[in-house]
Symmetry: C2
Subunit: 522 residues, 2 copies
């Protein structure tokens, strides 16, 4: 059997052959081929709560098997947090008037997920299966800035990431090279290997022949090299002391974001907005989704499950054999149910992150035209936290920046402001970095996820202890109700979490109905 | 005057206002707006030798001013080294039969430049001016491999870049944190700042609470995290000793490639092949280019310049007022001329790098499908040196890998092989990394630049001393002959060098003809 046939065959086995293949050295991880469960349904009715990615995926996979699926969705749109804000997008937040986006046609920003890690095969595979074109999300950009407000000698200056990265690498490599050279550290290395480490540090740090850091072209030029006599001129480095006392080694700026497994390049985004993924599912499921259907009660009954919901046309009720509930826990917590006390506790106590973003539309792409910044992230120690430059339509006319992307306390503070005040704050802090804001700003749209109706949180965050208690309670069905969504995975905040959880739930429901022993992914 | 008007105005001043703007803090470097020289030509005839990017750009800019330009190009195509190999591409190398590419329609690889740094504004600006669409060139990919052949305990294994990066960061951060903690190094820091450095090292290295490196998710998972109980499992780190003795800290693998200013993300490529840039220029200049015109002599005369050249229809001669010669120096060295001894010496002695690439077409994109590698570079210590994964058509059907990209001694060795032998070597060494080669390979096309007719080298490489001697001799005109091309810049190997040098030459010629004092860029 050829390797390719073997792969195709094994994908039909719902993953049973993957461990064998891994042992054969053919694969490092299981590939995410289209998902096929064996056997057919007999038209059992599955009620799916929420048309976010988890709900959409569960319905998509179950209807392939012959299940009758109904998705109840509280909003007028599908996608949940997988939401790109463009002209006409509407949001409702606690204590705020309804907000409608008036961005120029063709412009958007991803209010929810904006990045796909290259190893989230399940996400890439659904994009392929549903013909959603992808492009590189440029998460790493040495040309973006660190901006430390009100702290130390480098405060209130925009410092290119490359300057800090290379100065810090330089100084710390110099220190360690000295220490290894003078046998002040025990690296458990042979003398010869220690010498190689020192040579490596000289390259890593960009040190001179004497192993001293004296700046290098890596940190950029004051005058770029060019033709003729233009050899280029390099600026002096920042001192280590200035970098440290300006807080640029503080967690606000740690290099580690791009070291994180999920944020390592290569990263992707859907062309035209991440919600193209949700829309692609929706297109396959149009007849199954009931919009404007806000669930008010979920009850296990003797015959199966009953779900009550509100619609503009009045209160309604639906009977199903099984239910897959993908409603975010802070929302579910306000819905009547007869779940066990363990499940009920998980729903009421699981923690969700507070987080918010603002999209700022500008007349021109000054970050590209004036500052050579194409994609990537500027980091600050103020309320903005992160400023995202778009990874699409490079060299185009207008553009939308994500003017802040903040978390926890900062997100709470900003989320408590009115839409107008958030815009004011984003502009006031943003113009410290980009004075072009004054001339070029056109309009804004902000989202505070923990204030957003039908979300009330960014994503689930479990402590190690909570993984053993709250989290575990959600992994088994409560009678005929199954739980899915990123909150039932270790892939919190990622679309892959929604997809994986949907497959797990679909596998579990189908296994129960068809009386097969099925596990996903193996 | 608005900033925007100011910019537009200043661009007409050929850059004279940029230093003032930089002082105003508006710009860090001069922006590359369309290039305009003041005044008009009176139809003087400029002979341009070579339809590479430098020659094309010089003609493009000079004809805007009213000059009569003739470009003599030895080949049947424009673009020079800016060449994407696709179906029908032909190459002639010393001692080899003519080679014709038979790649599948739509597939290509960039035999010459494949990357545009985000700060090469002149390149981006020409792409914008000529409507050449760009996409991200994904130069950084933590998922690619290091492959050390025949050296140490990690030899002949493909090690993900992320494993080496994070293990090395971990061990070296641990060592330095220890040294700083125990005051074994003098970092010229206050006690408080030293503490911050240690905290930073803990984050940088992914150290545990005791500041020890014990692997982390950054180096990837053996079992990926997922839904339910799938928390993910991390492998043990490689030991520092194993990494060192396997040569993974040797220059072959140094992390520094992506630290280099020119290779820092963001990087771009032209959609559909880098030669789309050359083709865009060519479209504007079709009537000016004489193809199949191989220059045999260049002579300053009393009236201007005379150029002799061979064509399929016989030997010809052309008179011009001035000449801009962009012919690569190793080729020019074989052409008759009456230049000064200084110029002649530069032409004969300037050093060009030996370098080569091979494009390998595969039936399927196994590096993506099986191994999660989307773009980026695998590094080896063997003849392959680098293996480039395509940064386009992700998740597509077929694809072309650059199976080796080597330099100097390795390029010489491989360049001396026949086309068939090169392919054999690329497959033999490549299958050590990707055993899928055996099943999936379809066809190859290799280019050895130092063996290629009308190039005879990769790009100019000057020592510090040569910059003061050989290089300088080429910066002034030899009577009415001006020199341009990357070899007359500090941007060797980059397309920006061709562009910058063409602007410098056009400025100099036009200044002389119009009796204006003009300098570029200021």
């Amino acid at each position: 059997m050829s390797r390719r046939k073997f792969l195709q065959h094994s994908s039909r086995l719902a993953g049973g052959a993957y461990p064998a293949m891994m042992a054969m050295g053919l694969l490092q991880e299981a590939p995410a081929h289209p998902f096929h469960l064996p056997g057919d349904a007999k038209g059992e009715h599955i009620i799916i709560l929420g048309a976010g990615l988890a709900g959409l995926t569960a319905a998509y996979e179950l209807q392939k098997l012959g299940y009758r699926c109904t998705i109840l969705e509280a909003r007028e749109r599908a996608g949940g947090r997988c939401w790109s804000v463009r002209k006409g997008s509407v949001t409702t937040e606690t204590g705020q008037p309804t907000q409608k986006a008036a961005f120029e046609e063709g412009l958007y920003f991803n209010a929810g997920p904006s990045r796909i890690p290259h190893h989230h095969q399940i996400t890439l595979q659904y994009c392929k299966e549903l013909n959603v074109p992808l492009q590189v999300y440029n998460n790493v950009n040495e040309s973006a800035y660190y901006f430390s407000e009100g702290k130390g000698p480098l405060s209130n200056k925009k410092i290119r990431v490359r300057e800090v990265h290379n100065d810090v690498r330089g100084y710390l490599s110099e220190l360690l090279a000295k220490a290894v050279d003078s046998h002040q550290v025990d690296a458990a290395l042979t003398k010869e290997d220690a010498q190689k480490v020192v040579e490596y540090l000289r390259a890593e740090g960009g040190l001179d022949l004497d192993k001293l850091y004296k700046a290098s072209a890596r940190r950029g030029y004051v005058e770029a090299p060019g033709a003729g006599e233009k050899a280029g001129r390099i600026a002096d480095p920042h001192t280590l002391s200035a970098i440290v006392s300006s807080g640029l080694l503080d967690p606000d700026f740690y290099n580690v974001a791009e070291y994180t497994y999920e944020l390592q390049m290569t990263m992707f985004q859907a062309v035209g907005g991440m919600d193209m993924i949700a829309k692609a599912f929706e297109k396959k499921l149009t007849t199954l989704i009931q919009f404007n259907a806000a669930v008010t009660a979920i009850r296990n009954t003797e015959k199966g499950v009953q779900v009550n919901y509100k619609t503009p046309a009045g209160d309604k009720s639906l009977q199903g054999d099984y239910c897959i509930c993908t409603i975010p826990l802070p929302v579910l917590s306000n819905i009547d149910h007869n779940f066990s006390s363990g499940v009920s506790r998980a729903i009421d106590y699981a923690n969700y992150i507070k987080t918010g973003k603002i999209g700022l539309q500008f007349k021109r792409r000054f970050w590209e035209e004036d500052e050579n910044i194409y994609g990537g992230i500027t980091h600050t120690n103020n309320e903005l936290t992160q400023l995202f430059y778009p990874s699409n339509d490079y060299l185009g006319k207008k553009g939308i920046l994500i003017g802040y992307y903040n978390f926890n306390e900062k997100a709470k503070l900003v989320g408590d402001l009115s839409f107008a005040q958030r815009q004011q704050l984003a502009l006031q802090k943003g113009r410290l970095i980009h004075p072009q804001y004054d001339q070029e700003f056109e309009q804004a749209f902000s989202v505070s996820w923990h204030k957003t109706q039908y979300n009330l949180g960014g994503w689930a965050v479990y402590s190690g202890e909570e993984r053993q208690t709250l989290y575990k309670a959600l992994l088994a069905p409560d009678k005929n109700v199954y739980f899915a969504g990123e909150h039932t995975t270790y892939l919190n905040s990622w679309m892959a979490g929604a997809f994986e959880s949907a497959r797990v739930a679909a596998t579990a429901v189908h296994g129960r109905v068809s009386e097969q022993r099925l596990t996903y992914p193996r």
